[in-house]
C-alpha cells in the first residue's frame, strides 16, 4: 500500500526537479567579504554576545588560520577562497524582537512556500498536522522559534543559540565545544569562529519532550556561507527527538555550509536526531550547488544513554559529513541510519564513527548509498573499541546500489578492535537494480521510472522506518525526485 502511495506521489512531481530553488527578494545586511579578527568581532557584536563568547571565537579563529584544508575525502572541487565570502548575512528587517507578528511577511511567505509551519495558530487549528516546534534559520539568523511557551511549561529550553548565549550562559559555557572542540578539524574551527545561528535545546532531567523539535535552515543570499551551530543537551532520564531540514536557492555559484552539531546525552537519556538534507545539488553539469562540510558528533556521556542519527542525504554538490557517537557511558548505545542518494555530478563522502569507550556499549550502522548519473557515493566509517570497552558490540551493514555505469560507489570502513571481548561484524554489498525486478514491475504496467522508485524505496526501507512518521512520506517523495532522469 505504501508503495502505491509512493508512485502516486512521484506522479505529482513536476518536471522541475529542485522545487526549493526560488530566491527570496529581501533586503539583506551583509558583513564585508573576507575573514579576519575584525569580522569575528563584527559577528559577535551583531549578536550582542558577552566577552567570553568573543574570546572563544577568536581562539577558534587563531587555530583555524594555522590549519590546512583536509583532502582525504573522496571529493574533488576547486579550492575555496575563504576571503571571497560574506560571513554574515541577515534580513534587514530582522533587527527587532522576534514575535511572529513582527516577522517580515516576505520571510513568512518563503517558509510557507517551503511548507514549514511557523504559525502556531494554524498548527493548533489542525491546518498543519502534526505538531512540531520549529526554529527557522534564514542565512545567518534565526527568524522565529515556535511553541516556546508550551515547551517552557515542560521545562524544555528551545531557542536559537544566540539567544541561549545571552539567556543561559551557564549551560552554553558548560557544554559548547565539549563534544566538538574549537580545533577539532578545519571546518569545525571555522564554524567555531564565525558561527552565526542555530538551535539550542536543553531537556531537563526525567522529562520527555512533549513534541518533536525541528530546525529549518535556508541559505538565501549570494556569496555567503552558512555556519550554524546546534547544541542539544538531554539531561538525566530525558528524551528528545529533533529534526533538521535544509534547502537553498538555485544558483550557479557554489555556496558553503559548514555546520557543527553537538549532542550530549547524560545518564539514561536518549536523543534522536533526524536530518533531511536537501541543499541545492547543482545542475546536471555540476555547476553550482552547496558544499556541505559538516561536523556532527554525539556524546553518550552517561550510563545507558542512547544517541540515534538518521539522515537522508539527497542534496548538496558535495557532502562531507560523519555524524558520530562517542559511547563513553557504560551500556550506552549509538545508532546510525543513513540514506545517501547522489545523482548528476554530486559527490557524497559520508558515514559515521562509533567510538566504544565504556563497558557493554553497542552500536548499529545501516547505510544505504544510491549512486546514479555521474555521481560518486562513498561510505566512510570507523568502528573502534578501546581496551577498556569490554563486551562492545557493533553491527554494520552498508549496501550500495548503482544506477547506470557512469557512477561510482565506494566503501571505506575502518575497524579497530583493541579488546578480545569486542564483537564486531561488518558487511557490505554493491549491486545494481536487477533486470528481473525491473522487468517484473514493468510487466505489471509500471513505467521504468516508477519501477526504479519502487525498488529503491524497498532498498532503503530499513532506514526509512527509522524516520519520524511525517518525514517518511516526504522522504519517499524526495527519493523519487532525486532519481528522476537517472534511468534510460
Amino acid at each position: 500500500m505504501a508503495d502505491l502511495d509512493t508512485i502516486e506521489l512521484v506522479k505529482d512531481i513536476d518536471v522541475d526537479k529542485y522545487k526549493y530553488g526560488f530566491t527570496t527578494e529581501i533586503e539583506t545586511e551583509l558583513a564585508p567579504k573576507g575573514l579576519n579578527e575584525d569580522i569575528v568581532a563584527f559577528i559577535s557584536n551583531k549578536k550582542n554576545e558577552p566577552q567570553w563568547m568573543l574570546d572563544w571565537r577568536l581562539e577558534a579563529y587563531r587555530r583555524w588560520i594555522q590549519m590546512t584544508e583536509p583532502t582525504w575525502a573522496k571529493v574533488h572541487y576547486p579550492k575555496i577562497d575563504f576571503q571571497d565570502l560574506h560571513y554574515y548575512a541577515a534580513p534587514k528587517s530582522m533587527s527587532g524582537p522576534k514575535s511572529l507578528d513582527e516577522v517580515d511577511p516576505e520571510l513568512l511567505r518563503t517558509y510557507e512556500k517551503l511548507g514549514i509551519p511557523l504559525r502556531e495558530r494554524e498548527v493548533l487549528a489542525g491546518v498543519q498536522t502534526p505538531r512540531v516546534a520549529v526554529d527557522a534559520v534564514f542565512d545567518s539568523i534565526s527568524v522565529v522559534t515556535t511553541f516556546k511557551d508550551e515547551l517552557a511549561k515542560a521545562g524544555v529550553i528551545f531557542c536559537s543559540i544566540s539567544e541561549a548565549v545571552r539567556e543561559h550562559p551557564e549551560l552554553v559555557k558548560k557544554y559548547l565545544g565539549s563534544v566538538v572542540p574549537q580545533g577539532d578539524n578545519f571546518y569545525a574551527a571555522l564554524n567555531s569562529a564565525v558561527y552565526t545561528d542555530g538551535s539550542f535545546v536543553y531537556v531537563p532531567p526525567n522529562t520527555r519532550c512533549p513534541m518533536e523539535l525541528s530546525t529549518y535552515f535556508r541559505i538565501n543570499e549570494k556569496k555567503t556561507g552558512q555556519f550554524e551551530r546546534t547544541l542539544i543537551i538531554a539531561d538525566k532520564g530525558s528524551y528528545v527527538s529533533y529534526l533538521e531540514g535544509c534547502t537553498a536557492p538555485t544558483r550557479d555559484e557554489n555556496q558553503l555550509h559548514a555546520a557543527v552539531v553537538e549532542l550530549i546525552a547524560l545518564d539514561d537519556a536518549e536523543i534522536k536526531y533526524s536530518t533531511v538534507q536537501n541543499w541545492y545539488p547543482g545542475d546536471k553539469e555540476g555547476k553550482g550547488g552547496v558544499y556541505n562540510f559538516v561536523t556532527k558528533r554525539g556524546d553518550c556521556r552517561g550510563k545507558n544513554a542512547k544517541i540515534s542519527w538518521t539522515q537522508v542525504e539527497t542534496g548538496s554538490a558535495i557532502t562531507w559529513k560523519y555524524p558520530s557517537c562517542i559511547l563513553r557511558g557504560d551500556n550506552s548505545r549509538g545508532e546510525f541510519y543513513s540514506i545517501a542518494i547522489s545523482n548528476g555530478r554530486q559527490q557524497v563522502d559520508s558515514g559515521t564513527k562509533m567510538i566504544h569507550l565504556g563497558k557493554n556499549t553497542s552500536s548499529r550502522i545501516v547505510s544505504k548509498g544510491i549512486a546514479a548519473g555521474r555521481s560518486d557515493n562513498t561510505y566512510r566509517g570507523l568502528v573502534s573499541a578501546h581496551r577498556k570497552a569490554t563486551n562492545a558490540r557493533n553491527f554494520t551493514q552498508c549496501d550500495s546500489l548503482l544506477i547506470g555505469d557512469k557512477c561510482g560507489a565506494h566503501t571505506v570502513p575502518y575497524i579497530e578492535a583493541k579488546t578480545l571481548s569486542a564483537h564486531f561484524e561488518h558487511e557490505a554489498t554493491t549491486s545494481k537494480i536487477s533486470d528481473d525486478q525491473l522487468f517484473y514491475c514493468q510487466s505489471r504496467g509500471l513505467s521504468q521510472e516508477e519501477a526504479v522508485t519502487l525498488i529503491v524505496n524497498g532498498f532503503v526501507r530499513d532506514v526509512l522506518q527509522q524516520l519520524p512518521m511525517e518525514f517518511m512520506a516526504e522522504t519517499q517523495k524526495l527519493i523519487g525526485i532525486s532519481l528522476e532522469g537517472s534511468v534510460g
Binding site: D405, G408, L420, S421, A422, H426, T430
Partner: protein, 399 residues
C-alpha cells in the same frame, strides 16, 4: 642522519626522513619510523658457516615437498645449496629484474638495496613444486633485499613455494613480480616464519591474463614486524583469483597486509579470505581494497577478513575497501572480530578435552578455512600441523 649526495631517492627514502609515516593512508596502522628501531645497513656481507645454513634449511617445513629448490642466503643466490629444476620447461636465471610497478616505500627500498634475485620462466605444465627459500643467518643487524620475477607462459601451470626464515635481527625486503599468461594456472604458497626479532617487508605484484586460475596463500607467523603488500591486476577476461592468508601472532608481533585487487576487465572473479589469530600483545592489520574500473562489468568480488583475539591486549584493525565504477557487479566484503566462543570451548571440555587442546582445535578450525584454499595436499597437511602446535609452542617459548 647522514644524507650523502650520491644516494638515490630510494636510498634516501630508506635512511632519511622519507620512511612512510602513519599520516599516509596506507601506513595508518604501521609506523615504520617507530617500528624500525635501529639502522639496518644494506649490502652488508655476513659470513655464514655451511653447518649453520644447513641447519636453518632443515627448518623449512616445505623442504620435503619440493624437488627443485632455489636457495638465497643473506640475500645472495647460494648455488651450492640450491637444487635447480632439471625439467627443460622451467628456466631459472640468476638475474635482478627491474621493478615495473608504481613507486611505493617497500618497492623503493628494494630498488635501492636488492642484492640478488632470480627470473623463473615456466613454459608448460609442471607438476613438481618449485621452491624459493630465503635464509638469514645470525649476525649484524642489516637489510637483506631480494627481488624475483616469475613468468608463467600461456597455458602452463605450476606450483610455487616461497619460504622466509632466519635467526637474529635483520630487515628482510622481498619483492616478487609474477605474470600469469592466458589459460595458465598458478598455485603460490608463501610461508613467513622469520626470526622473532626480524622485520619482514614484502611486495608481490601479480598480473593475470585471460582465463587464469590463481591460488595464493600466505602464512604469517614469524618476524617482529610484518608488512606485506600485494597487488593483483586482472588484465584478461574470465580470470579467477583467490588470495588467502592466515596470521598466527603472539608476543609483541605486528603484521599488516595491504592488498589491492584491480579489476580492469569484465567477467573476472576475485576472492580474498584472511583468518587472523592474535594472542598476547600482538596486533594484526588487514587492509584490502577492491577496485572495479569503468567497464569491468560482471565482476564478482568478495572479500572477508576475520579475527580471533586470544588476549585482552591483542588488537585487530581492518579496512576492507570497495571502489566501484561499474554497475553490473556483485561485490561485497565482510569483516568480523571477536574472541573464542565460550560455548564451543565448554562443549569440548565437557567431552574431556583439556582447555589448551580444545583451544588449539578451535584455532585450527578457524584458520583451517583459509588453508582449504590451497590445492596442494601436502602443504595443507604441513600447515595444519604447524597451526596445531602453534599455541603450545609460543606459550612455552614465552616461559
Amino acid at each position: 642522519m647522514n644524507i650523502a649526495v650520491n644516494k638515490t631517492l630510494a636510498e634516501l627514502a630508506y635512511d632519511g626522513m622519507l620512511l612512510p609515516h602513519p599520516r599516509l593512508e596506507d601506513w595508518k596502522w604501521t609506523n615504520l619510523r617507530v617500528l624500525i628501531d635501529r639502522p639496518y645497513p644494506p649490502r652488508l656481507k655476513v659470513a655464514a658457516a655451511p653447518k649453520e645454513i644447513e641447519r636453518l634449511l632443515k627448518r623449512d617445513p616445505l623442504a620435503k615437498l619440493a624437488q627443485a629448490r632455489i636457495v638465497f642466503v643473506n640475500g645472495e643466490f647460494a648455488e651450492d645449496y640450491s637444487n635447480l629444476p632439471t625439467d627443460g620447461d622451467v628456466r631459472v636465471r640468476h638475474h635482478l629484474a627491474p621493478i615495473t610497478a608504481e613507486a611505493e616505500p617497500v618497492l623503493d627500498m628494494n630498488a635501492a638495496f636488492a642484492t640478488g634475485g632470480v627470473e623463473i620462466e615456466i613454459a608448460s605444465n609442471i607438476d613438481a613444486p618449485v621452491a624459493i627459500v630465503h635464509v638469514a643467518t645470525d649476525g649484524e643487524a642489516r637489510t637483506i633485499a631480494t627481488r624475483h620475477r616469475v613468468k608463467v607462459a600461456d597455458g602452463a601451470s605450476a606450483t610455487l613455494f616461497e619460504t622466509h626464515l632466519g635467526e637474529g635481527a635483520y630487515l628482510a625486503n622481498s619483492v616478487v613480480d609474477i605474470t600469469v599468461g592466458a589459460n595458465a594456472k598458478l598455485d603460490r604458497v608463501k610461508l613467513e616464519i622469520e626470526s622473532s626479532s626480524a622485520i619482514h617487508l614484502a611486495h608481490a605484484v601479480i598480473t593475470l591474463g585471460a582465463n587464469v586460475l590463481l591460488r595464493d596463500f600466505t602464512l604469517t607467523s614469524g618476524a617482529r614486524v610484518n608488512r606485506q603488500n600485494g597487488t593483483l591486476a586482472f588484465k584478461g577476461e574470465n580470470a579467477d583469483g583467490k588470495i588467502a592468508g592466515s596470521y598466527l601472532l603472539s608476543g609483541r608481533q605486528h603484521a599488516d597486509t595491504r592488498l589491492v585487487i584491480d579489476h580492469q576487465v569484465p567477467k573476472c572473479t576475485s576472492r580474498e579470505l584472511f583468518k587472523c589469530v592474535m594472542d598476547e600483545n600482538a596486533r594484526g592489520v588487514f587492509q584490502g581494497k577492491a577496485i572495479v574500473r569503468p567497464g569491468a562489468q560482471k565482476t564478482d568480488g568478495k572479500q572477508s577478513s576475520h579475527a580471533l583475539l586470544l588476549s585482552e591486549t591483542a588488537e585487530f584493525d581492518a579496512k576492507p575497501e570497495l571502489e566501484i565504477y561499474a554497475d553490473d557487479v556483485a561485490c561485497g566484503h565482510g569483516a568480523t572480530s571477536g574472541d573464542i566462543d565460550h560455548n564451543h570451548l565448554f562443549y569440548l571440555q565437557s567431552r574431556g578435552i583439556p582447555e589448551a587442546e580444545a583451544k588449539s582445535m578451535l584455532i585450527g578450525a578457524f584458520v583451517g578455512e583459509a588453508f582449504d584454499t590451497i590445492s596442494h595436499d601436502g602443504v595443507r597437511d604441513v600447515l595444519t600441523r604447524f597451526a596445531g602446535k602453534w599455541l603450545v609452542n609460543h606459550k612455552e617459548e614465552a616461559r
